[in-house]
Amino acid sequence: MATTKASGGPAIATTPATLSYQYLAFGALVAFFLVAPFFIYPVFLMKALCFGLFASAFNLLVGYVGLLSFGHAIFLGSAGYATAHAAKVWGFPPELAILVGTAAAGALGALIGAIAIRRQGIYFAMTTLALAQMLYFFALQAPFTGGEDGIQAVPRGTMFGVLDLGQTMTMYWVVLGIFLGGFLLVYRTIHSPMGQVLKAIRENEPRAVSLGYKVDQYKLVAFVLSAALSGLAGGTKALVFQLASLTDVHWTMSGEVVLMTLLGGLGTVFGPVVGAFVMVTLEHYLAQLGAWVTIVQGIIFVICVLTFRRGIVGELARILKKPL
């Protein structure tokens, strides 16, 4: 798909000077999240971090490989169920429970990815949507997911036997750690040799094939990685809210992550995090407005598509002439 042609960021070559810009931005990001919990409600920040990681993982696929998945919620949600089940029913400690969730999402990613990557463009998106809808039906029917009540009262437990996650601030630092770990992994992947191949596939797939790259394998690895990281976000979210529910596997969630990524800036490193933060803020602070929430959200999307298609970070990068 030519989706990413409109995004300015990645077209600019990555030189050491631009890298230092990115380090600067990364430093600012870390500093913000270190100080923020003293001013902003930590549970809200944790939600933003989980969605930030989710959107970053999604962006790895759409922004750098050019594969628009329209069923990504399934990885977020199924990892949530797996983590919640492991923590509540099997009594796993949180680190293992999150691992179970991540692994489950990764395995699902391998399955769905293997089927979906045979198709391109809109047909790829539709295949992921179809498979995700089937899994949604499974989540609705399977007894262990608790139907529309979900899995509630999931114990947060004690991480590594020492960190009591029942304490909000402890939970916050752990979530921040997970987020930064996942974010750096995405960043490393983009800037690795594999990332270069992925970008080459996005720009011109037949050419990548003719150069001898096994395109399907690269795509599958990227898909599984993206799914597993989405799962990491979903598992963490399930522990934060002590809840795994149908909301996270519904197709509207798949739509929301597209919007987060687009709003922040498709194919930019920091865009998805910014987009997620803006979306979560909207949902959170507009909750007082009732039905106006959807209207305001809708207007933002319209304005975004009509006036700044590169997204917030993408436009910023264009102004600074540096990839962010």
């Binding site: 003293f38 409600y41 809200f44 529309e148 009540d149 809210f241 809840l243 909301t247 009732g290």
Partner: protein, 403 residues
């Protein structure tokens, strides 16, 4: 600045820990959490917020020397959104009581948070009878209705009137299953038979196939174990296919007056349903509802909105006694200890499992000719006395009930 914040947080933690006999933050905050933008916005929504405000006004705006404030938010029918709003309300905004919360999944999630933080949860919009059963909590009161009471009210009456064979159209989710299960039990206990059931996905628009299956079953009664748009679509299409004319009866297990309003009497006439409140019950309900409608665009209150008013009223009365809102359990214990008395539900009690006890009513929807105007929709068939309206205390499996 940062240090001041941390100190502030610490101070809050230290103050909140022991149950001081006073009003925390010198203000009583009531948070109305419900659906403002989706399926249940008409049944709960801004109407519930208005009802809470009216309760506060009627209590004089002040209790135990502290002003009472009402805040509200939209949970969008999502449990995670609901529970995170409630966490923030309690942690940061000093909310003392959460009110309403339609859809059982959100209510269950909120109940967990409120219990953990030891505040008060006044449930009006949610239906699951588990909220005063398996999932009961010393911090909640379930006010208006529940699935057991609905099943009991409608099921009982319809079987007694000769409708002894049933076929269910059930929404395929926990709430629908619970309604079907509870109603089946009532039907069987009264000597009736359940001939079959079909589970349809939530928010189905076309029911003709299911109605045809119900028709083929030859059951005398078609029980609608669903809600909102699903029920409305099923009733609309039953009229189209001549189900009622063909001799079968429809029994709606969860129908609100706003649903009847949107169906129109021509389509809805003859339908039997159970509610715990109707604006035209007596002089007091009429007077209150008139005041309500004037401030709510002419719309009459639903039973959920009435329940919010009554629950907040009783909560404020209990606060006036305890003179402290710090210990949610103690306030709820007080609410259970004091008999309730309000203009909408009359005299009643709150049981040990948190279940509010009052009469329920079986109504029949009037024919268009019999209605005197908008909102004049119901004819009372039977008052179900408080003693038999709700599930007996020992059958719910609530941990708070001493065996």
């Amino acid at each position: 600045m940062v240090i001041a914040r941390i100190l502030g947080l610490l101070a809050v933690v230290l103050v909140a820990a022991p149950a001081h006999a006073q009003i925390t933050g010198n203000v009583i905050k009531i948070g109305v959490l419900n659906d403002q933008s989706r399926l249940y916005a008409d049944i709960t929504g801004q109407g519930s917020v208005l009802a809470a405000r009216m309760a506060v006004e009627d209590a004089g705006g002040k209790v135990a020397g502290a002003p009472v404030e009402v805040v509200f938010a939209d949970h969008q029918d999502k449990p995670d959104v609901g529970s995170s709003i409630v966490r923030q309300w309690i942690d940061r905004d000093g909310v003392d009581a959460v009110v309403d919360v339609p859809t059982s999944s959100v209510a269950l999630a909120v109940s967990g948070v409120v219990r953990e933080k030891n505040k008060v949860f006044l449930i009006s919009g949610a239906a699951s009878s588990d909220l005063s059963g398996k999932a009961c909590s010393p911090n909640s009161v379930h006010w208006t209705y529940d699935t057991w009471a609905l099943a009991n009210g409608t099921g009982n009456a319809v079987v007694k009137a000769g409708g002894d064979t049933w076929f269910f159209l059930t929404a395929d989710y926990a709430f629908g299953h619970a309604l079907e299960r509870d109603t089946s039990a009532v039907v069987k206990a009264n000597g009736g038979k359940v001939l079959g059931a079909v589970r349809h996905p939530l928010e189905t628009s076309d029911f003709s196939s299911f109605l045809l299956q119900a028709q083929a079953s030859k059951a005398k009664v078609i029980g609608l174990a669903n809600a909102g748009g699903d029920t409305i679509n099923a009733i609309k299409q039953a009229a189209e296919f001549g189900i009622v004319k063909g001799g079968q009866k429809l029994a709606g297990l969860l129908i609100f007056i706003t649903d009847i309003h949107s169906l129109g009497l021509k389509t809805a006439q003859g339908l039997q349903l159970t509610e715990s409140f109707y604006w035209d019950l007596n002089d007091q309900t009429r007077a209150w509802s008139k005041k309500f409608a004037e401030r709510h665009g002419g719309k009459m209150p639903t039973m959920v909105q009435a329940g919010v008013y009554a629950a907040v009223t009783h909560y404020l009365k209990a606060l006036a006694q305890t003179k402290s809102d710090a210990d949610g359990k103690a306030v709820v214990a007080k609410m259970k200890e004091m008999p309730t008395d309000d203009p909408l539900f009359g005299k009643g009690t709150v049981r040990a499992d948190g279940r509010k006890i009052h009469p329920m009513y079986l109504f029949e929807v009037k024919a268009p000719e019999a209605s005197k105007g908008p909102w004049d929709y119901y004819k009372m068939v039977r008052q179900i006395p408080a003693a038999e309206a709700f599930r007996p205390l020992d059958q719910g499996g609530c941990e708070l009930v001493k065996k």
